[in-house]
Amino acid sequence: MAAMSKQPGAPGGPPRPWKRPDASMSLLADLMTSDALDPGYTTAARRGEGGNGRTSSRSGAVLVLVTVVAIGLLLATAVAKVRREEPVAERHRQELVAEIESQTRQTDRLQRELVRQRRETARHRAALLAQSAAGQRTQHELSRLAFVAGETPVEGPGIQVTVDDAPERSEQESDDVISGARVLDRDLQELVNSLWAAGADAIAINGQRLTSVTAIRAAGDAILVDYRPVNPPYVVTAIGDPDTMETRFADSRAGRLFRTLESTFGIGFGVRRDEGLKLPGASALTLHYAREVRQR
């Protein structure tokens, strides 16, 4: 790395030291390749100060002692701090988990209360409407519309499709199956669309009824149906003609997709027929933008 002198052609003037082509990188190059001791020690040694075993003065030794004690204190403080904070972090995590669980229970309680109140309201309304002929017509219309919109529970024959995340560790030691694959919201959307196309009258995912305004989306790692999280295994229940639905679904995009996912990624996939499926009603629909068209 020494600078080599090269005599320039012109006479007179000192020889210019050769500049390395990568002179601008000298900082990084020196940092990476240098093996040099802290230059302070080498210059001090060159000047003939101190050296091993020859303590130049009492104050020098005291200073070294103080500095070394300070370093020891610093290291020990850091270690103690790390040790002390481990249980605290764990305790915070436990507290957060307990908080989540209690709030979830609270939400479930409120949800059940809401369902109870709605049923109560519907009962009162039906009683009121039954008192006049026009009211009875309105009630009939209301029931019909609620049924079609998905607000009322339904039952009937159909099929049940269960999909699940791939197991963390695959039992077969095959290299073809990647472990840890997860079902995405896209996959569930494809599944539901294929079920509608196969002729389903009503669909629910893990007990959540789907309506025309229900969204299936992902938030982080979780899948949300109608803004409520659902956990795997995902059980998609569809009411319709079991024979045609099963055939059409097997030929559909989702059927092909999930068979591929099953063989490539180990995603769980199963289809089952059932004669007595029951689906709950969806929560009340509120339309924000769609307006009713007046029939003339």
Partner: protein, 110 residues
Amino acid sequence: MIAAIGLAIGVTLGLVLQPDVPLWLQPYLPIAIVAALDALFGAVRATLEGVFNERVFVVSFVANTVVAALIVFLGDQLGVGSQLTTAVVVVLGIRIFSNAAAIRRDLFHA
């Protein structure tokens, strides 16, 4: 040898007293530790090579720590605090490693 005893005393004191680091100092603790380790390794290597000098040791430790803390503080004000912390830690870490390698060569001739 005084140094080794002093280090042991310091570590014991720290583990026994368990001083609380004030909150405003806590971001600078990591770089202070790395600077301390760098000064320590440099001192051990200098001792093994016969050129240890107390003044250089003390000044290098204090200056490294103060300068590193100032750089990180400046970085915090400018919004690049964590990046500069990384830079300081990387540079001092490289020095620690090269000093450690030299110590290994001096001790084991290998």
